[in-house]
Structures are given as C-alpha cells and as structure tokens.
Amino acid sequence: MESTVHPFLHNPRLLRNVLGVLILANAVLWFGLFVLEKDKSTVLAMHFLSVGQGDSELIIFPGGVKLLIDGGPPNGSVSRELDAVLQSNDRYIDLVMVSHPQLDHFGGLIDMLVRYRVGAFLESGRRGEISAYKDLENILEKRNVERIQLAKNDRIRYRGSTATILSPDARLLGSTDLNDTSLVTFVESASTTALFTGDIGKDAEQFIVRTIPTVVDVLKVPHHGSKFSSAASFLGAVQPILSVIEVGKNRYGHPTPQAIERLTDVGARVYRTDRDGRVTVKSDGKNLTVERAVRDAK
C-alpha cells in the first residue's frame, strides 16, 4: 500500500531550505520589531524636510505618533523625504496639518495622500482659493480622511506630549492676508519646546507674543525668513536656541539677511534647508542633537 504522505516531507533538502528561510524571516522580522523600534519610545524627533521653496516638518513624538505639518510644494519632495526618514514599510501618518492653504504648503500633500494612509487632517478652516486646493479636497474625500478644524487653545495630547494651537483666533482667521491665518503650533515633549509658525507676519507674531507660555528651544522660522516676519520683539519673547528656515530657490530674497541677523542677535543657531538639506532635531529629554543631511554645508 502506498503511503499518502505529502512528498514535501520526504525531501530532506527541501525541508531544510524552507526551514532555513522561515527561521531567517523570523529573525529579520523580530529584530526589526524589537531592536529598531526601541528608540521610538523616549525620543522626540523633529524633521525639517527639504522640500524646496515651501514648508514641511515631520514630528515624531515619543511613543511613535507622527504629525506632519505642511507638505511643501507639489514637486514630489515631501514623499521622497518621508520615504527617507521613515522605514519603507511605514506607510501611516497619524496627523497631517496644513498651516494655511497656499500651494507651497499644501501642494505636496496631494501626491503624499496617495502614498500614505492618514489618520486625520487638521486645518484652520480657511479655504484655499486656487484650483489645486480642490484637488486636495478631492483626494482627502477619496481617501476617507477625517477633517478637523483647529483654532486658538485647541490642544493635541499624546502620552507626555502636547501640541497647542496659539493662533489664529477668529479675527486673524478672517484676515485678508492668507499668511496671518496660519495655524501656529506650540509643542512640548521630552522636556523640549518648539514653535511651528507657518507664514505668519508681524500682526500674528504680536498676537502670539501675548499668549506664548514659555521661551522655546526650537523655532521654525516664519515665512521662509522673510524680512516682514521674525520681528525683534517676537524673537525676544520666543528666544530660540535653534532656528530652522525652510526655504528653497525663490525670487523673494528668502531668507533675508535682516531676518537672519535678528535671529543671531538673540543667540539662535540658524539652520536652513536650502544649504543644510533636511535638518533633524532630536531630544531624549536631556540632550538636544542636530543632524544635517548635507554634511559639508558651511
């Protein structure tokens, strides 16, 4: 009588190979799970992405939740930067915020929303006027992303970290200058403070000076280093240790020498994405470290 045992079990070499592959796969997966993920639980990472002339910052809070503020212009950069920063199989961004509906802040998100799954979309409520904005709304709808409107005093809390909205209030939200409607986010995490300012100008800056709780360690410089922002009184109240200017090739003269001078005057170290590439600021609660993607920048 012939045995009906599967031929697979009769072939020791095949068995050995398959077993080897399975053990190897297990080793790789468990290693990835335990060793590579360990770092996430206590470190705050703020990546100032190099997207050209535009803003985009990825904040990874201790515990792993990710907040992306702005997506830069529609040149594919934000997707490439995210791919470089995150692990290739990490395709989820918990929160995506648009500070204000200008193309150099939301343009890159149209492509990025196809590539990544997003938990929720945070906005000020001010609607964009250009046709590209409709594309953004279409893709948000198509991907079933929840849209949440934020305003002054709204707060996001996660484990020990908070992100508080300092601006705009109702008055600034209705401003004729779209830049002043920018959502300004104050982050407290891992004993570090940071301020993300969108494109605010003097008006909104003065408003924030009155309500900002403390000085900050890290400042995302307003409006790509425009001379109409980063007023001395604002910087005097914020007093950043590190400042990062998100900027690329442009015809407005960004970043202006006046703004840079005002930053160095308050003792801030100035980084800029056009020269330094992606700037990563990490804090473990005790030390602040800065990495620049372009090592030989002056």
Binding site: P74, G76, V114, Y116, R117, D135
Partner: protein, 484 residues
C-alpha cells in the same frame, strides 16, 4: 509558375512596405517611373534568361505592390487631412479628453477628441491645475497650430493628431462624462498604480509600475536620468519585450496544465486582456500584435517561419497606420531588436561557439547573447535618433534584464494578493522591495559611468553597417546548417 508561396508572401509584403516607405520620405512621381522602369528590365530579363523565368515573373508581379503601398500611404494621409480645420484662428473648442494627461514641467499634456466646431484629434497643453482626467469633457478657447512636418510634427501625425494648442483659456471641465470600456480599464489601471504607490517608496513604485504597466511618468526625474544614462529606458516602455516576457510566462503556465493549442489560445487572450488593462495605448497594441504573431509562429515552426511572421506583423501594423513605418521609433526599435534576436543571435552562437541550451536562473550567457544581438541590430537607429548611445548600455542591460521577468511576476503577484488577501501582499512586498531596491542600486551605480558613444550617422555608413550585418547573419546560418 511562381516562386514558392512562402517567399512570394514575404517579398510581396516587403514590396508593399517599400512603397509605404517611399511615400513616407516624400518621393512622388519618381516611384512610378522606378516601378515602370523595373518592369521593363524584368521584361528584358524574361527573354534573355529563360532559366530565371520563375523569379522574373514573381518580381514583375510584386513590383506593382510597391505602387500599392505608395498609394495606400497617400490615401490614408488624405483621409487624415479631410476635415477642414481653421488653423491659427482663436476659436471655441469643445471635446473629450481621450488620453491620460501627462504632467510635464509646469503643465499637463492631453489629447482631445474634438466634437465642435470640427471633428479631429488635437493635443493641448494646459496649466498644472485644474487637473484634467481621462474622459473629461472640456471647453476651451485657443488657436490651433498645425502639426508640422518636422520630427515632432510627424510624431503627432502618426498619432493621428492634427495640431496643438498651448495654454488655451479653459472655460469648462466636466469630469467623468464618458463611461467607455477604455475608461473602465484605465481606472482599473490607476487603482493598481495607486496600490503600488501606497506600498512602496516613490522610486520602487515608479519602476515597478513602469515595467509591468508601461510608462515612465511615475518615475522621478533622477531615476529617469539614471535609466537614460544606462540605456535601460526601454524596460519601462511597454514594448515587444515586456509582452514577450508575459507571453512566455503565460505559455509556460498554461502549457503545464493544458494541451499546446489551448495554452496558445489562452496566452493570446491573456495578452489582449493585459494590454487593454495597461491602458490600451497604440504602442502597446502594436507590441501585442507583434508578440502574438511571433509566438504563434514560433510555436508552429522554426526561425525560418519567423521571417514571415515578422513580415505579417509589420504588414498588419502598417495597414492600420501607414505612418508607423517611418515615424514610430518604438516600432522600428522593436522590429530591429527582434530581427537581431532571431538572426544575429544564432550568428553569435556560431561565431563564439557558445551553447545556450543551459537552463536555470543564472543562464546569463543566454541573456547576454540575446541582449548583445538586439543591441547590435538596433545601434545605428539609436545613433540616428538620439545622437549617442551609452557605452555601458550593454553591460547594464545584461546585468538587469535577467531579473526583470521575476520582478514582473512578483509585482503581479503582489497586486493580485492585495486585492484578495492583503497581509500576504505585505509579505510579498518585502521581497519586491528588496529585489527592486537592488536593481535600482545597480542601475544607479552604472549611471556613474556617463561615457557615451557619439557618432553622426551618414547613409553610406548605415548601408555599410547593415550589409555587413547581413553577411554576418549569412555566415551564422551557414555555420548552423553545417553543424546541425
């Protein structure tokens, strides 16, 4: 009475194609005189060499076919231009977008099938936003520039496009108005592309999308440059090569469970479905026609029969659109590459006494020889068209080509699984990511050697090159028949 039908068919087609070519390059009445003159010569030969009567009679009957091809081209062209279009006048135009708009630079290029105030196809270039999609009904105001007779203009004419409009005033766009079969296929294709984008990094997704579905639009500019520098751009153009990979895989798959004949039928159906699914663009359809005719021929005969299969494929395509013969680079490259593989490769085998019967994943000799043969056949055309050929092209292609079929297979498997059982798809994704990551790394490494062969090709060189190649092929045929 006449030469064997097998040869008669072949030379008849060649005659017809010669006529089409003559018309394409602008010859007019001279062709008529040429044909008449040759008939007179044949008449003379008929009486002076009675032993050659069979050949002479055949030639005399085939010669007029040159005229047929000639007339066919001009008739087709006249029909193409039949509709009167007010070029240069700013008018209100209403039509349907019937291509997938390509985002290039700061704008979008789309093909519009115009309904009012005339019926024709034109190409429009609009601002990046608002986004246009396939199937939209669009109304705009602008002036149409006629497709010229320069190289880009002829490309447009070959695509049956009468003219172009640059940055017209778009008055209205209505989305999703046309629910054709092709629209359904394209939305299916875009679903697959999006699934790839969701899973993989931009370069990996772009590359995989390119080799499985065709198209370089998903590639980043850097990656496109890398592929240009290594001469591997053909991998992401849905060409005869991709089709043949799919065809051979399907044949192997079906052939394992069904009889040869049914396996063939299913393979042909599979190719048709695939091409429609990848968007059904003209170039893909041509590649499919070629691929189908070739595998049918190879299944039923030796390389000897492939010659007629190639001729029939060319005939079919030229019949559908006479302009592809002279003005479609893809068509020309595919044909030359095939001729290279079918004829030059055996010659290489004979010359270098290489055995290519060794199967297995690392049958690199076979791959190297095939690639070399195709490159040798295609070289002058590349030089004429692009002005230069990357020096490492052969090495880079050999290094990458043997991995492409399995990459395509894994890619298809991934897509299939992601619609059926997603967790399995994620596991497959690991493998795909690793494989493609390696392939891209190899290509990037090769692109660091930007040495290019730059030659200006003159017609005498062209003639000399292909004559030499012809002799080399002859040598190969003699060698093979001697040894076998």
């Amino acid at each position: 009475m006449l030469v064997h039908p097998y040869h008669t068919l072949f030379w008849s087609i060649v005659g017809f194609l010669a006529g089409v070519m003559a018309a394409s390059i602008g010859l007019h009445i001279s062709v008529v005189w040429l044909v008449l003159g040759s008939e007179i010569i044949f008449l003379v030969l008929y009486f002076t060499y009675p032993t050659l009567r069979v050949y002479v009679r055949s030639a005399a009957l085939i010669a007029p076919l040159v005229l047929v091809g000639f007339v066919y081209y001009y008739t087709d062209d006249a029909l193409f231009r039949r509709e009167r279009i007010p070029f240069g006048e700013t008018i209100l135009i209403h039509g349907t977008v019937n291509s997938v708009p390509q985002v290039r630079g700061g704008g979008q290029d789309s093909t519009v099938s115009v309904h009012e105030p005339f019926r024709a196809r034109i190409r429009i270039r609009t601002e990046r936003y608002p986004t246009i999609t396939y199937g939209d009904t669009i109304t705009f105001r602008g002036a149409i520039e006629e497709s010229a007779d320069d190289s880009f203009g002829m490309y447009l004419q070959k695509e049956r496009i009468r003219g172009t409009v640059s940055f017209p005033e778009v008055e209205n766009i209505e989305h999703g108005t046309v629910r054709q079969f092709r629209g359904v296929l394209l939305s299916l294709r875009s679903t697959v592309e999006q699934r790839l984008m969701e899973q993989f990094s931009p370069d990996v997704a772009g590359f995989l999308s390119g080799i499985t579905l065709g198209g370089s639009h998903a590639l980043s500019d850097t990656m496109r440059e890398v592929m240009q520098k290594t001469g591997t751009t053909h991998l992401v153009a849905l060409s005869g090569y991709n089709i043949s990979v799919i065809a051979l895989s399907l044949l192997a798959l079906f052939g394992a469970i069904l009889k040869r004949r049914y396996a063939l039928i299913l393979t042909v159906i599979g190719i048709i479905v695939f091409v429609m699914f990848a968007g059904g663009e003209a170039s893909a359809v041509r590649a499919a026609i070629m691929g189908i005719i070739i595998i049918i021929a190879e299944a039923f005969g030796r390389a000897y029969d492939v010659r007629n299969a190639l001729a029939l494929a060319a005939f079919a395509m030229v019949l559908l659109n006479p302009k592809v013969l002279a003005f479609d680079i893809g068509f020309q490259l595919s044909f030359l590459a095939l001729i290279g593989i079918v004829y030059v490769k055996p010659a290489f085998e004979a010359l270098f006494r290489i055995q290519t019967n060794t199967k297995g994943l690392l049958a690199w000799r076979e791959g190297a020889l095939t690639t070399a043969a195709a490159q040798v056949a295609v070289l002058p055309l590349l030089l004429i068209t692009f002005g230069n050929v990357p020096a490492i092209s052969l090495v880079a292609n050999v290094a990458i080509l043997w991995l492409i079929p399995i990459t395509m297979l894994l890619g298809f498997l991934f897509v299939l699984c992601s619609f059926v059982f997603d967790p399995l798809a994620t596991i497959i994704a690991y493998g795909v990511h690793l494989l493609i990551g390696m392939e891209l790394g190899v290509l990037r490494w090769f692109s660091r050697f930007p040495l290019a062969l730059t030659l200006s090709i003159s017609t005498p060189f062209l003639v000399a090159y292909y004559t030499a190649l012809g002799f080399f092929i002859r040598y190969g045929i003699n060698r093979t028949s001697l040894s076998s």
